[in-house]
C-alpha cells in the first residue's frame, strides 16, 4: 500500500462524493468563474485521482509524484468538462487523469523516452503474445500477433525494438556492488592476441636485458628490493651465511 500524504486523506475525508445534480451545478458555476465551485469540484473528485494513481503505481515510480501528476489531469478535466452534454464528471475526468498518470510514468520509468502510444501498443503486443502462448503452448510468430492485433508486422517489430528493457552498465546489480561492466570485463590475456604478443615480446627483451646485469649489480637490486632467492629460480646468487646472519639480525 503506497504512502498517502495526510493532506490528501483529509481532502478525501472532508469531501464526500457529489450527486450528478451537484456536479452540474458546481461545473456551471466554475465555468462562470467561481473559484470556490472549481475547488469543491476538484476536492470532491480527488478520490478518483487516488484510485487511478494506485492502479498505475509501480515500484520504480514515486507514488507522491504520480499522485501530483494525476491531479494535473483532474484540473484539466475540471476546466474542460461540459456539463450540458449530460455525462457524469467522473466518466470524463478519468480519461484525463489516466492520460496524465501514463504520461508521467512514460517519461520517468526509463532513461529513453518512448511515445506513450508506442508504449501502450507494446503492452498490447506483450499481452497478446502471452495470451497466444497460454492458448497454443508455443511462442506465436509476428505474423500471428499482427493478425490478432490488426497492426502490420513492421510496426510490431519496431515497437518491440524501441520498448526493449534498458539496463545501465554502471548500475549496481547485487549486494556487493558489482556492476554489469565489471562482470562483462574480461581481464584475461586472451582477449586481444596482439596485446598478448606485445607483452610476451617486452618480457623477452627485459629478460635479455636482465642478463646484462653483473652478479654484483643484481645482488644489490635484490637486497634493495627484498627479492629473495625463493622467489627466483636462478641459484646464481645464493645468500652467503654472512648475509643471512645480517638479515636475521635485522
Amino acid at each position: 500500500m503506497p504512502f498517502i500524504d495526510k493532506s490528501y486523506s483529509d481532502i478525501i475525508k472532508n469531501n464526500p462524493l457529489l450527486t450528478k445534480k451537484q456536479e452540474i451545478n458546481l461545473s456551471r458555476q466554475a465555468k462562470k468563474g467561481s473559484r470556490s465551485a472549481r475547488k469543491k469540484l476538484i476536492e470532491s473528485n480527488f478520490r478518483l485521482v487516488l484510485s487511478i494513481a494506485k492502479k498505475y503505481h509501480r515500484s520504480d515510480i514515486n507514488f507522491q509524484d504520480l499522485l501530483q501528476e494525476s491531479s494535473i489531469g483532474l484540473l484539466k478535466a475540471v476546466d474542460r468538462f461540459d456539463p450540458e452534454l449530460g455525462y457524469k464528471f467522473s466518466t470524463y475526468a478519468c480519461w484525463w487523469i489516466k492520460q496524465a498518470a501514463l504520461q508521467y510514468i512514460n517519461e520517468n520509468s526509463t532513461n529513453i523516452k518512448v511515445p506513450t502510444h508506442s508504449r501502450l501498443l507494446n503492452s498490447k503486443i506483450k499481452n497478446k503474445i502471452k495470451e497466444l502462448e497460454d492458448k497454443d503452448g508455443k511462442t506465436p510468430t509476428l505474423e500471428q500477433v499482427s493478425e490478432e492485433i490488426g497492426e502490420n508486422v513492421n510496426k510490431i517489430k519496431y515497437t518491440l525494438k524501441s520498448n526493449r528493457y534498458i539496463a545501465s552498465i554502471d548500475a549496481s546489480r547485487d549486494d556487493e556492488g558489482n556492476t554489469l561492466a565489471s562482470k562483462i570485463a574480461d581481464e584475461s590475456d586472451f582477449v586481444n592476441p596482439e596485446v598478448l604478443i606485445e607483452k610476451k615480446e617486452l618480457k623477452r627483451i627485459i629478460r635479455e636485458s636482465l642478463s646484462l646485469l653483473t652478479p654484483k649489480e643484481e645482488k644489490i637490486i635484490r637486497l634493495r628490493f627484498g627479492i629473495t632467492e625463493d622467489e627466483y629460480n636462478n641459484n646464481k646468487f645464493t645468500l652467503t651465511p654472512d648475509m643471512e646472519e645480517y638479515l636475521d639480525e635485522k
Binding site: 618480457k203 627483451i205 636485458s209 654484483k216 643484481e218 637490486i221 637486497l223 628490493f225 635485522k250
Partner: protein
C-alpha cells in the same frame, strides 16, 4: 595527485641503502651507501637503454636516464625479477 619520486621498499622487505652497503661490505665488496645508489641507478639505466635499443626508440642518454629513474619503470623491473618464470 603528486607524482611518486622514489620506489618504495618498505612494503617489500627491502633494505635501505646503508644496510645494502653493510651486507655487500661483509660479503667482500667494500662500498658505502652512495656507491649502492650509483650501482642501482647504473643498472636500471643499462636495462632502460637495452629496451630502448630493442624498440629502436633512439633516445638520448638524458632521456634514458630519466626513464630509468621513474618509479614505474623500476617497479616493473622489480616485479619481473620476482616472477619465477620470467
Amino acid at each position: 595527485m603528486k607524482n611518486k619520486k622514489y620506489v618504495t621498499v618498505t612494503n617489500s622487505n627491502g633494505l635501505g641503502l646503508h644496510d645494502v652497503a653493510k651486507v655487500m661490505t661483509k660479503t667482500g665488496h667494500k662500498m658505502n651507501h652512495s656507491t649502492v645508489r650509483n650501482i642501482i641507478n647504473r643498472s636500471f639505466f643499462k636495462l632502460a637503454k637495452n629496451i630502448s635499443d630493442n624498440y629502436s626508440l633512439d633516445y638520448d642518454a638524458k632521456k634514458i636516464d630519466s626513464i630509468s629513474k621513474t618509479p614505474g619503470f623500476q617497479e616493473s623491473i622489480v616485479d619481473l625479477l620476482r616472477e619465477k618464470e620470467l
